[in-house]
């Protein structure tokens, strides 16, 4: 690898033109990378720092740099709406991840049984992932609308007392987010698991079969443990989606009724952009970043460790 550097290192002075060209060649890879690195330093790391600084100020409508220490974080902790949003994230994220994993795993195992038309089914399961969360939200809002959607349809079949009004029920609205998000992302988890299943060495399965293990037992004891890395990646991707969920809430429930289905992402946007609470919004953004890091760091750590051992 260091070839590139050693080849073009002409002696200084000997043929100035060649050496300039050579120097340029040697620097070119770094020059090509430089803008991206600079962008990353400024727009990712710099902005994170900037948001952190804003979160220490009393900025309201416009950023001000009057520092108030961690007062915004204290306000956040005392803010009922923030707690609703955080609790919702735990409920939404937990259910979303768990249901996607279960559904994805079951579908992948079923699809792995030499199914005719497997390709078509896979396409059908996965297509929602290509849609915008706004589209998903709009469609599910229509389906879950009690007056004209699923509730009305089932009632028209003769079940007059059927109730499915979660969208307008403050206690249940957050679960409509789970339904729509699972619909959108579970096919993707299925694809991950299917790829994992196809990667398992057949000889392990044959050995288990020769030992007389039953099919469910083979799956439970042999196959699923092999899928552990996939589960790990899936959990990490899904929780990442959950923390970032913003569009879905905006389109499906608008955070309502009231702020019953708010998530931290919508809380942050509402305070930073529409309620003129830039300081508070920044503090909530920093806590979201903390949440992502709390998931990401163990993941990266185990990835790196796994690679070293593997």
């Amino acid at each position: 690898m260091s070839l590139s550097n050693s080849v073009v290192q002409p002696a200084v002075g000997a043929g100035a033109r060649r050496s300039h060209a050579g120097m340029l060649q040697a620097c070119l890879p770094k020059l090509v990378l430089a803008p991206s690195v600079a962008i990353s330093l400024f727009f990712v790391y710099g902005f994170m720092l900037w948001t952190f600084i804003l979160s220490l100020t009393n900025s309201r409508m416009l950023p001000s740099y009057e520092f108030v220490g961690f007062a915004q974080y204290a306000r956040l902790m005392a803010n009922d709406r923030w707690w609703v949003a955080s609790t919702n994230l735990v409920v939404f994220g937990g259910l979303f991840v768990a249901i996607c994993l279960a559904l994805g795993l079951v579908l992948a195992i079923l699809l792995d049984q030499r199914i005719r038309q497997e390709g078509a089914l896979r396409t059908i399961y996965l297509y929602p992932m290509a849609l915008s969360f706004i589209v998903t939200g709009v469609v599910w809002k229509w389906l879950l609308n009690p007056g004209l959607g699923i509730q009305a349809m089932v009632r028209s079949w003769g079940f007059e007392n059927f109730r499915f009004d979660w969208l307008v029920n403050p206690d249940m609205a957050v679960y409509t987010l789970v339904i729509a998000a699972v619909w959108q992302a579970s096919g993707f988890v299925m694809a991950l698991f299917l790829a994992g299943l196809r990667g398992i060495d057949d000889s392990i399965l044959k050995a288990a079969q020769l030992d007389g293990a039953s099919l469910p037992r083979i799956y439970w004891r042999v196959v699923i443990p092999c899928l552990r890395p996939v589960v790990f990646s899936a959990v990490m991707i899904l929780s990442h989606i959950a923390i970032k969920s913003f569009d879905l809430v905006v389109a499906l429930t608008g955070g309502g009724p009231g702020y019953a289905s708010d998530l931290p992402a919508t809380f942050m946007y509402a305070h930073a952009f529409t309620r003129a609470q830039i300081g508070l919004g920044s503090a909530s953004a920093m806590l979201m970043l903390g949440g992502v890091l709390a998931i990401l760091i163990p993941y990266l750590y185990s990835e790196l460790r796994g690679r070293r051992h593997g």
Binding site: L28, S36, A152, Y269
Partner: protein, 292 residues
Amino acid sequence: MDNVIRRRTLGARLGRAILYAVLLLAALFYLLPLAVMLITSVKPLAEISPGTLLSLPREPTLAPWTKAWGEACTGMRCEGVGVYFLNSIAIVVPAVLISTVIGALNGYALTKWRFKGSELLFALMLFGCFIPFQVVLLPMAQTLGWLGLSSSRAGLILVHVIFGIAFTTLFFRNFYVAVPTELVSAAKLDGAGFFRIFWRILLPVSAPIIVVSVIWQFTQIWNDFLFGVAFSAHNTQPVTVALNNLVNTSTGAREYNVDMAAAMIAALPTLIVYVLAGKYFVRGLTAGSVKG
């Protein structure tokens, strides 16, 4: 997995039947919203009443589509989502192209011209894939203001390029790592330069990863809402923002058929890409998320 012996007993057949039934039921669950969206979008408003969610239109009409495209109200204006669809295209195309080109060059430099610290730089950039964008929204708004790009398409293009580079770099880097280095080393000894090697050796084999990167960026940027809503004005909005405004505009009777037609319009480009190039789409998803 049930490959050793396939007995066609009654039980086995029943098992297969249940298996197919479950798979079809799942397919129904995934297809239902799309079907309802499509059916509703070609119904006259008069046919939309409680209990008709799944009934086919008696008098199918494209009027909701034309209205959604050219007349429906999104917020204060009533010019449909068509102009915003074109906005999205005007934002997506340059953003995808620029971020893919930069990603390709980065990936190439990071794998074939490694230098001390290049892996660290890669890790540094990779982090950009993971941050919740809420953490950059406020500084970005201010910076775009300073650059004179507030609420402009150019500003949105810039934002999408900036936060797309991490992904495209990741794609190309992981792809070029697997390209044998011997050819590149030989070319270096022959005195071929950085761009020449890229052009003659790497680029000709890059077609699959270019497709992955373009599709990934296309779906990401087309489907974006957060940046669109935060950094655009009424005349530069992308279609996702316009769709959300249309659905939440509360003037007059709700025209659900128009809402659904607008949703279809916003969904079609990515759906078409997915149907035509689903294989690459999946590869992008897994590369973008698993290997991250």
